[in-house]
């Protein structure tokens, strides 16, 4: 057995065990942590499949930000799952039927890694052959994501935008804007404060690197937006929500949520005005490649803006629900 297969099997066993533990545990705090582990193992699997961009996103979103948001949710609800009151027979049957249908569906799929599979022979060869001449950037994933498949990515950003608006609408009635900006200090958390201060700068710098280096390596707006948001969230966690709101007001963040999508759609509209198809960036620069470069840069920036703003405003909405944690309560 090759070492690749052994790694794959080990990771899948981890994945299965984690999923089973998530099912069985009733302590929701542990479940949230295990779901982060699940995401991290998935990310490792994706790295093993050489899908570093996807792995990056999975690690940032699944293991990072959603864990924080779920913990924020737990703080508002209960730490323990209630025992089910109704019979679980029907859900079990539904799950088994769905699983059976899914497994049955995979029988029609081409073998894993089959060179004749539709995914290998449909548009992928064209992307691989033409990216260098048409787009001129080394990372084909970014070229596909932001240019060839720009419509799909616009859809994804709109989904995030809509989800953010939905969360804000649900929680908006309870958002408490700061009254008088009470400054909260956590003096005895000296270690946390110092390390956070040291780390926030590099985290923001790394987010910028991920954002603007996407043409050359794994990264892009989605991952960078998450990393950007995590820097603000860690600040809010350690220095208090009031201080974070002073640095980045909730109103400004909510404005940025819309700005990102607007920038993405606007870039498409500009190419519209030049008489080309929507989201055809070729007209933006002196020649095709320069235009594509500029278009991808702007579009990725729009993605990063919306993702970061949605994450920060969602965190604000959640964290603003309960009274700030007092010094004595820690």
């Amino acid at each position: 057995m090759s070492i690749e297969a052994i790694i794959n099997i080990a990771l899948f066993v981890f994945l299965g065990l984690t999923a089973f533990a998530i099912l069985k545990l009733r302590a929701l705090f542990a479940v949230v942590m295990l779901s982060a582990v699940f995401s991290l193992v998935s990310a490792a699997l994706l790295v093993h499949l050489d899908a570093v961009d996807v792995a990056f996103t999975e690690a940032a979103v699944g293991a990072g930000i959603s864990t924080v948001l779920m913990l924020a949710t737990l703080a508002l609800t209960s730490r323990h799952e209630k025992a089910p009151t109704r019979s679980q027979a029907l859900p079990l049957i539904v799950v088994f039927l769905t699983g059976f249908a899914l497994v049955y569906g995979t029988l029609d799929m081409p073998r894993f890694g089959d060179p004749q599979a539709p995914i290998q022979v449909h548009v992928a060869p064209k992307y691989i052959a033409d990216t260098q001449s048409e787009i001129g950037i080394p990372n084909i994933v970014t070229a596909v994501l932001a240019s060839y498949r720009g419509f799909d990515t616009l859809g994804e950003v709109t989904v995030i935008f809509t989800a953010g608006i939905g969360v804000l609408l649900l929680l908006a009635a309870f958002i408490r804007e700061p009254e008088g900006l009470r400054v909260q200090t956590m003096d005895h958390h000296l270690v946390l404060r110092v390390v956070t201060k040291v780390l926030i700068g590099p985290i923001l710098l790394f987010a910028l690197y991920v954002q603007f280096h996407a043409d050359y390596g794994p990264g892009g707006g989605f991952q960078a937006g998450i990393i950007f948001a995590s820097a603000f969230i860690i600040y809010a966690l350690v220095f208090g929500l009031e201080n974070a709101r002073k640095a980045v007001p909730g109103r400004a963040v909510r404005l940025l949520v819309a700005c990102g999508v607007l920038l993405y759609g606007g870039v498409g509209f500009v190419s519209f005005l030049f008489g080309k198809n929507y989201l055809n960036y070729s007209v933006l620069g002196a020649d095709q490649v320069a235009g594509q470069h500029l278009g991808i840069l702007l579009v990725e920036f729009g993605v990063g803006l919306t993702v970061a703003a949605v994450m920060v405003s969602t965190f604000y909405a959640f964290a603003g629900q309960n009274p700030p944690i007092g010094d004595e309560d820690w």
Partner: protein, 118 residues
């Protein structure tokens, strides 16, 4: 010759790093209460991960990969002890008492207090 030296050094670093991580995992299972478990995992993980990264750096030589690994190592060097500190601190303020050995051997064999859920 130099390749042999590089390999030997990096293997030594990787092996000692892995050993530390395994020791940490063992301590996490075997230690009696929350704080000693934190102690086992927190200390060995920092050095273990950094040793493994150092071993990888030796393999990578003078390249951009080494710089990136160096940054990751620095990040872990700061965050790993900090998170251990934060967790232990949170547990203590949440009221979880460290398990202290009794003078007599009364505490021996009694049910170990569950770590985790404060």
């Amino acid at each position: 010759m130099s390749a042999l030296v590089t390999d030997a050094v990096s293997w030594a670093l990787l092996a000692s790093g892995s050993l530390l991580v395994v020791v940490g995992a063992l301590g996490l299972i075997r230690m009696p209460d929350f704080y000693t478990r934190m102690h086992a995992a927190g200390i060995t993980d920092t050095l273990g991960a950094d040793l493994i990264l150092l071993g990888l750096m030796v393999q990578a030589g003078f390249s951009l990969v080494t710089v990136k690994l160096l940054l990751i190592a620095a990040f872990l060097f700061f965050t790993s002890p900090t998170s251990t500190h934060a967790i232990a601190n949170a547990a203590l303020t949440a009221g979880l008492k460290p398990r202290v050995a009794e003078r007599s051997s009364a505490g021996k064999g009694s049910a170990a207090p569950e770590g985790g859920e404060p």
